[in-house]
Symmetry: C2
Subunit: 89 residues, 2 copies
Amino acid sequence: MPSELEKSLSNLIDVYHNYSNIQGNHHALYKNDFKKMVTTECPQFVQNINIENLFRELDINSDNAINFEEFLAMVIKVGVASHKDSHKE
Amino acid sequence: MPSELEKSLSNLIDVYHNYSNIQGNHHALYKNDFKKMVTTECPQFVQNINIENLFRELDINSDNAINFEEFLAMVIKVGVASHKDSHKE
């Protein structure tokens, strides 16, 4: 049986593929689908953020697409923000 | 209603606190509890890994504990490995 950590990771992989597969590519999330993903999946995180800038910042190898490793960098950003929120009284 | 991404992150935060709270500290996961966590939560990932080395590698600020941000760095490592596995035939 998968652990809680494994289930969470498997869900994150599914989230990424749900959007990257819109344009038929398992390993590239293009800008439009990225926008769709962040506004759907982490609306609070992006409400005061310029999504174009976030995309450019995450796209380390400048190939105009977010690969899975670059997606995980975003997950960290959202995770750190959520963790802070989880300790707010 | 939380999104899939938000649910996964919330679960990851819970996993971290499940182990960090064993010694009563919300923001520090000590070595023994870290070992307990990785052998329970990602047994496959650590089966061929020296856990002492992994702990030292993750403990960027060398305070002998893994904070939440350092934990997320491990999640990335496990995530990249699981993602590769998910595409194996």
